[in-house]
């Protein structure tokens, strides 16, 4: 086989010392010519074809950070020189992760595979030891629940670790799912109950992973459970403790639009369905037992234990699934929308809780009004079921998304949930006007475009052009923008502004990455092994990603990926071959494997 290797650099800032790689390429069997083409070369196809003919190449390898960029040019040249265009091979250094300490060895391996005509992913299969059958799932949202249930139903032990007091994650906060407008809780709650009742799932709520060590297939992890101060087994969630508790705190589950007590249950369907004491706000705990303690006295089951110190559990597992989800971007950093300044500018998550039948207003969509707090005497803006409903609602898309200052990426779900909001407003408030300010309508899934069409037909005013500012004209909120389709400047007086805020990786993602030795992409999400071909595995053997923590995605995609992850885990368990870190692969191993595939 006579092979010509062409090094073409696409990104001028990409820095990999090519000299050793070129030297290595020169010594590979079959390579008759290596040529360094420089940054973004534009050779004439005719002269390239001439070169290919002169050397009588049987295979052409394009090597570089993004060699695919140059493929059309080489295809043209190869076609002109009567060589089979299938014999153009790409050695994609960047895409196969040739960076960091072992970048040069990795690049050599990638190049060797290309020269031998073997796909890198076929040759680079790490060997590993036997696999422990238990799995650790980090994150108890829909992705974690789905993956845990898939594995548990296959008869494998699962440890599900959740940071907050209940599983369910963000999906539990939602009212309806798009585009079918199914009730989110009706899908999620049975799954949550199944998790709680499953013999093969051990649930750790209020817990975090302290460390992970070991090798793929035989990891050891320590799970630290924060004190709950309530006996998990004894509590029957009668709620007396919460009734008597004098401390009020903004409810995390209600996105801050309502208040909960210091001893609370996040929501009535929480799993485990047990009350929890917020140690940061409880008077008894904050004063070291000198004040209050009324819940302990009133509890009929005597299940409150202020001496709870939490616990530490060491587990052994074979695989780890990351399903840590996301947080919403804090819109106070974008001053022109006036979030935090104007009370009736709210985030999508707050609206989600407002319109939820289990929310503070019982599902009535209302505006905030000024009330004087009885306890502190301060004026505050609150949602109350008796408040008037908004007549005009503006929904602003892409808040902080697709914006080079905040998130450069598209958060993917906002277009659809915003349209859903329009529907909910129109359904619950007859005669209300909804204005959707969007840049591009990204209705990408099954039935989504039809859903967008339906919302338009329902009479929502869909304005193409993002609103630039939200301001106050007297008592009236005013949303200003440019409708670029109608070619008009628009200015709408509205009562409620909903910001379709973008999504960011959940807090703690960076720490978890460090803990597990994983990579994150430029936007902060976990890096998968290969976005197209292997979207569930990571660089580290036996560590998988599912759901939002890998990148924004909607519920159907999250559930699908969670199930796919379970398949990956089960494959590693049942194959008997085990798994290993891809990064630990030696150049000689890959080379040998590539050669062996090459020969037969």
């Amino acid at each position: 086989m006579r092979v010509g290797v062409f090094f073409c650099q696409f990104n001028p800032e990409w820095s990999l010392a090519l000299d050793p790689v070129i030297k290595y390429a020169d010594n590979l069997p079959g390579v008759v010519l290596t040529r360094q083409m420089g940054i973004k070369p534009k050779p004439e196809p005719e002269s390239l074809a001439e070169l290919i003919r002169t050397y009588d190449f049987e295979r052409v390898v394009i090597a570089g950070d993004s060699p695919g960029y140059f493929k059309p040019l080489f295809t043209k040249a190869v076609a002109m020189s009567d060589l089979n265009t299938e014999e153009i091979r790409l050695a994609s250094f960047r895409e196969h992760g040739a960076e960091g300490a072992d970048a040069i060895d990795r690049a050599k391996a990638i190049l060797a595979c290309a020269v031998f005509g073997v796909p890198y992913s076929l040759a680079a299969v790490p060997k590993g030891g036997p696999v422990h059958h238990a799995t650790l799932v980090i994150g108890g949202g829909i992705a974690g629940i789905q993956a845990a249930l898939e594995l548990a139903n296959a008869g494998k032990q699962v440890y599900l670790v959740e940071r907050t007091g209940t599983i369910g994650g963000h999906m539990a906060m939602f009212d309806k799912t798009f585009p079918t407008l199914d009730c989110a809780a009706c899908i999620l709650t049975p799954k949550m109950v199944a998790v709680a009742q499953h013999d093969m799932i051990r649930l750790f709520t209020g817990s975090t992973v302290e460390y992970v060590n070991g090798v793929p297939g035989a990891y050891r992890a320590r799970i630290k459970t924060r004190p709950r101060y309530v006996d998990l087994k004894a509590c029957v969630s009668c709620g007396i403790c919460s009734e008597v508790c004098p401390v009020k705190v903004a409810s995390e589950f209600d996105a801050g639009i309502s208040q909960r007590k210091a001893i609370y249950i996040p929501f009535p369907q929480a799993i485990p369905n047990v009350y929890i004491i917020d140690g940061d706000h409880c008077t008894y705990l904050q004063t070291a037992g000198t004040k209050c303690g009324v819940c302990e006295k009133k509890c009929p089951k005597e299940c409150i234990n202020f001496q709870d110190k939490g616990q530490v559990t060491d587990i052994e597992i074979g695989n780890i699934i990351l399903a840590t989800g996301y947080d919403i971007l804090d819109p106070t950093i974008i001053p022109q929308y006036g979030y935090g300044v104007f009370p009736n500018v709210i985030t999508a998550l707050e609206f989600e809780r407002l319109t939820n039948a289990s929310g503070t207003t019982g599902g009535r969509i209302v505006v905030k009004t000024k009330k004087t707090s009885k306890r502190t005497g301060e004026e505050e803006w609150i949602f109350d079921a008796g408040n008037p409903p908004p007549k005009n609602v503006a929904i602003i898309h892409c808040v902080g998304s697709r914006n080079k200052k905040y998130n450069a990426y598209c958060s993917r779900v906002c277009c659809m949930y915003s349209l859903k909001f329009s529907h909910l407003v129109k359904e619950k408030i007859p005669g209300a006007n909804c204005y959707e300010f969007y840049i591009d309508m990204r209705a990408f899934g099954k039935g989504y475009e039809e859903f967008a069409e339906r919302i338009r037909e329902e009479g929502t005013f869909v304005v193409r052009g993002r609103s630039a500012t939200v301001s106050m004209n007297g008592d009236q909120l005013v949303v200003k923008g440019e409708d670029i389709v109608q070619d008009k400047n628009v200015e709408f007086p509205v009562d409620l502004v909903i910001l379709a805020v973008g999504l960011v990786p959940a807090r703690g993602t960076a720490e978890l990455c460090k803990l597990l030795g994983l990579k994150r992409d430029s936007d902060g999400w976990f890096s998968e092994l290969d976005y197209n071909g292997n979207p569930t595995e990571t660089e580290r053997g036996g560590i998988f990603v599912a759901g939002m923590c890998q990148g924004p995605k909607d519920i159907p995609d999250t559930v699908a990926q969670a199930s796919a992850v379970a398949a990956g885990v089960l494959r590693s368990i049942s194959s008997g071959r085990g798994i290993g870190h891809r990064s630990s692969l030696m150049l000689s191993e890959i080379e040998a494997r590539a050669k062996s595939i090459h020969t037969y």
Binding site: Q336, C398, R402, N403, K404, K405, I439, D440, F461, V462, V463, G465, R466, S467, A468, T469, K480, G481, E482, D483, I484, Q486, D487, K488, N489, V490, E491, F492
Partner: protein
């Protein structure tokens, strides 16, 4: 009517300063945040669109770039960092080039080498002319009166000649601007008497630049500063121009200070110096988005004006101190900078002194014409009616 598309329009515009037009994805943030963008003149987004589509004719006949004072809010808010404010600035340079019938402006904007060489050549020519005169008649030891090195009457005549040259070019270019914006780019008929009706707009904007005061510079500590400095610079400049063009013999007489004339000179000098310091300081600090990019012609503008101001101050001081040689040398240097400066005026950014108030005037005439045809329904809820 067929629309001609120029696919290289953006590429062409890069030499005038705009670099990021293609980044724009038309969210409309910039148009919505701009206080000057209204139903009839909507920018900067629309101009960005026209550029992306290569609608050269629409760009050439547009008044919008002149309605922008570059407060920088649009570029500040742009999610794509497409820099709409800088694009409007570049479009103004582009339009100066378009209005210019001689084609010199384009050469200056496209190549700083051409511009600098031209300036140096004109400066040297001026020096040669002065030295030739010196060879025959003038004496370097005499500043004023008979046998003066540079007799003020002669310089005055030269000034008037230059002034006439400038006026002719500017008039022709302004006429060209009118032809492009009001005849070629018109969508409706404009009755002639509207030009009379709206005439007051011209002096109003020329002397007050009142639209600049309306710019929303809320992100700054002193929101009125850019307007005041710009206005002060313009007034000082205008005063100095009139002094030099009309009252030069009085200005150059002395060594006694003639307060009735010189007081204006002092005030104008203070204004110019302040403006220059402000300009240079902000361009170096780059603390607001509008100062981040400075075109080569702008630097030439500032440096020349700096030389003129400094030499002007010194020749004045030397003259009053009774140092005729030093005064004559600085005066020659001064003239070497002033001549290219004056000749350069209609072909560079300076010309916006004329074009901008004209554009405001034309835009108001157009607006009245539209109102006449009752096409403009100034409604804030247009979407409701059309969807």
């Amino acid at each position: 009517m067929a629309i001609r598309v120029n696919p290289k329009l953006i590429e062409d515009l890069t030499s005038f300063g705009a670099a990021d037009v293609n980044m724009c994805y038309h969210c409309g943030d910039c148009s919505a945040v701009c206080v000057h963008s209204d139903e009839l003149y909507r920018f900067p987004r629309k101009s960005m669109r026209q550029l992306q589509m290569g609608l050269g004719e629409k760009i050439d006949t547009a008044l919008e770039p002149w309605l922008c004072y570059y407060c920088g809010q649009c570029s500040d808010q742009c999610p794509r960092e497409a820099n709409p404010g800088e694009t409007m600035m570049s479009l103004r340079r582009w339009l100066i080039n378009r209005y210019d019938i001689t084609g010199i402006a384009g050469k200056f904007f496209r190549s700083k080498k051409t511009e600098i060489l031209t300036i140096v050549a004109i400066g040297l020519l001026t020096a040669m002319a002065a030295l030739t005169y010196h060879f025959f008649r003038g004496s370097i030891h005499v500043y004023d009166g008979e046998n003066a090195f540079l007799p003020s009457l002669l310089v005055h005549l030269f000034d008037l000649f230059l002034g006439a040259f400038l006026a002719v070019i500017l008039l022709l270019n302004a006429g060209n601007m009118w032809r492009l914006t009001m005849l070629k780019g018109k969508e409706i008929s404009i009755p002639w008497w509207l030009y009379l009706k709206e005439f007051l707009v011209l002096p109003l904007h020329f002397f007050t630049q009142i639209r600049y005061a309306k710019c929303d510079t809320g992100n700054r500590e002193k929101p009125y500063m850019p307007w005041i400095v710009h206005l002060g610079l313009m007034w000082s400049y205008l005063t100095m121009l009139i002094l030099v063009m009309v009252f030069l013999p009085f200005l150059q007489s002395g060594p006694q200070i003639d307060w009735s004339v010189h007081i204006f000179g002092y005030l104008a000098t203070i204004g110019l110096a302040t403006g220059l310091v402000y300009f240079i300081r902000s361009r170096i600090r780059m603390h607001y988005v509008q100062y981040k990019k400075t075109h080569a012609t702008d630097w030439v503008f500032v440096i020349l004006l700096l030389i003129i101001t400094v030499t002007g101050i010194f020749q004045h001081i030397f003259h009053r101190l009774g140092l005729p040689v030093a005064a004559n040398v600085t005066y020659l240097l001064h003239l070497m900078a002033v001549t290219p400066w004056l000749i350069r005026m209609p072909f560079t950014k300076w010309a916006h002194l004329i074009y901008r108030p004209l554009a405001m005037y034309f835009s108001e005439v157009r607006r009245s014409a539209v109102a006449l045809e009752q096409k403009s329904e100034v409604s804030f809820r247009p979407v409701l009616q059309t969807i």
